[in-house]
Symmetry: C2
Subunit: 406 residues, 2 copies
């Protein structure tokens, strides 16, 4: 018998991975055809020839904040795209924005603390909070993102109870999973509330590059006059998810605390070097091309849903990103649909895993459209409709739908 005595409260053991499902509508995977392989190869050759020997040193010649040319690129990019004025010493490169989440949580959260987050939210953010024993207050969203009136009410309620939340977490620009963009006015209002109640804002902007019309409001970080925002971002969505390169932007008094608990001896240097070399030359051309391709896939997905589900599937056209948040009729439990679909080789994200409001999300699901081909999207949604009909009688076989399929 094994002598390992595991700590209490661990997640269940991992299941052995057996490959991807035939129709894969989950995860932040991207379009394999759009990985800029040739340019990444050229970047790798150039940077290794010039600086390969520096791999002998932890942190290269850049120190613990990460490869300096990548931070310098970000200084320019964040200024241009998000209106953020910062120096390279206010940026910490992380192993994906997930490490960013862990580090920010690590310096700010203790068990029993309270945070505000968008009611529908990235699963990884929710589970991180749950595992730390944090009280989560969910803020409902509408088509302009987080509802500021609800933020105000929540802050007032908590204040009346003597509770000061540790932060307000938001994915304001292409919200996950709803695909909304928080308007500039709401950003101003949110900052005002944050200031009034002395609660910092944790801004997760990892999808902000992928907007159909290429236009985004300034980052909340950029609009803040008080030093009360932490901003994180990622190259996972704009270049390649498997690279695992993200970043944190914060003033040094905050970043120096975050850096002190980043005890990993630096994030992967080769990926930082290759990305910096690639981005300096090609990022600005690459992103619009990628986004255009993603929009084609989104259209295919929305067409397939209309064709296969008819009026049974409701959704708003997202402003960008790689996923669609879909509402099915109330009698559909998407957690059960998820299980039945998986057995048929179709992977979807059930709504309750992407929300802190089970009643609201029970019949909703998230579909990622970046990874499957247009053909797979069409076939997969047809197959999903079959499963859903068999399990829940939805969508009905109406004449209307039959006609559309003919």
């Amino acid at each position: 018998m094994s002598s390992f005595d595991f700590v209490q409260g661990l997640p269940p053991p991992a299941i052995k991975w057996t490959g991807f499902p035939k129709y894969n509508f989950v995860g932040g995977n991207n379009d394999a055809d759009q990985v800029p392989v040739e340019h990444l190869t050229a970047a790798s050759n150039a940077v290794l020839a010039r600086e390969g020997a520096t791999l002998a040193t932890y942190g290269l010649n850049s120190g613990p904040l990460g490869y300096r040319p990548l931070r310098e690129f970000l200084v320019g990019k964040l200024k241009r795209d998000a209106g953020i004025v910062c120096t390279a010493d206010e940026i910490l490169i992380t192993s994906g924005s997930l490490q960013g989440l862990d580090l920010v949580n690590g310096v700010l959260l203790s068990p029993g603390d309270t945070v505000l987050i968008e009611q529908e939210c990235y699963q990884g953010s929710i589970t991180r909070l749950t595992r730390r024993g944090i009280n989560i207050v969910g803020i409902p969203l509408d088509d302009e993102g987080m509802r500021i009136d609800a933020v105000q009410n929540a802050l007032a309620d908590l204040n009346a109870k003597g509770i000061k939340p540790k932060y307000i977490y938001t994915i304001p620009t292409v919200q996950n999973p709803t695909g909304t963009i928080l308007s500039e006015q709401r950003r101003r209002d949110l900052l005002k509330l944050a200031d009034e109640y002395g609660v910092p804002i944790f801004e997760d902007d990892c999808y902000a590059d992928l907007i159909w019309n290429g236009k985004r409001p300034p980052a909340i970080y950029a609009m803040s006059k008080a030093n009360n925002v932490i901003h994180i971002g990622s190259f996972s969505k704009s270049v390649a998810p498997a690279l695992r390169v993200g970043y944190i932007v914060a003033k040094w008094d905050v970043l120096s605390r975050i850096l002190s608990i980043k005890t990993d001896a630096g994030s992967g240097a080769l990926e930082q070097m290759v990305l910096a070399e690639f981005c300096a030359a090609h990022f600005n051309d690459h992103v619009p091309k990628l986004t255009k391709g993603l929009r084609v896939k989104l259209d295919a997905l929305m067409d397939a849903l209309a064709e296969q589900f008819g009026t049974a599937a409701e959704f708003d056209d997202p402003k960008g990103g790689i996923f669609l948040w879909v509402r099915l009729p109330d009698n559909v439990d998407t957690l059960k649909l998820y299980q039945a679909a998986l057995a048929s080789g179709i992977a979807i994200n059930p709504g309750t895993e992407w929300s802190v409001n089970a009643a609201h999300s029970k019949s909703r699901l998230r579909l990622c459209f970046a990874s499957p081909s247009v053909h797979e999207i069409r076939e997969g949604i047809a197959a999903l409709a079959e499963v859903c009909r068999k399990e829940f009688g939805v969508p009905e076989r109406s004449a209307n739908i039959e006609k559309a399929r003919a």
Copy 2:
């Protein structure tokens, strides 16, 4: 004023990095001249051309355990070098062996738990335990590594108090910082004790590739009959530290628990891909060449110490690795020496940071010789001797030393 309310007990804020000291004898940095840049470039070109598009997917096509060809390489390497028989599904690729430490600690340790570790030990392992609120029992070492009689006494003492340690942590093969190798007999004895007391062993083998004569005993993991060992390793020392690629070897019942708390969406894929491609073709030729070069630097360091410090500096010739553990006379406080040396552009590791026994380690220091050139080693040790003489009157300006310097 900032509204950030940091949690209690954080480490002090990080200090801004201002570049490397002139003479850098700290950290696990390696020899810049020995980074196999050409082969890494060729590996990058080959693997990107073949599989670059898979970067669009988290975990590539390999799932959460890491890039399968790298795990396959390790299966062969661990068999040949360490006698470990395992499958690719018993290996988890990590972001450096530091993530391995965090993950293993994460599934096994709660505040107040007790562990046994070598009294002189890797600083990163000690601070990780301290931050988790773990009771550390240090086991003294001699020139064959961890003293098994002391392990036996410690286990018996704890048992009498009703305390069962969560693990025995050891760096058995080129111990950090002492450079010893735990003999095969001691490994057998340690396993017997572990079995008797039902305490698992946590084997950290990150330096095991760098042995002067290329010969090492089988890994403790390989010798265990009772599924009670977790083994971790790294490519940081054998290929390049900045790459941040390590691994954990464990049976699936243990690895599945570890994997469940690895919530980083995979370790950096490009580095895994390039390493796998490089290692399959060149690892076996690269390591002996690297080791030969390191031995030249060690000889330079030992010569410089003898020349500059004479009999004031005592040390054993390490069996491999990248550092030398040096004892100075009792009146030298190496923490003070460290501060004075740093002011003169010389970085050393003071003994107390690499030990859980302050009295034993107060006059000791660790010197890493892999990164500085032979010339820098000579100049740096001369400069260190000057600082030490000024601060502590050691080494004395004896005729003997003067002669050697002439």
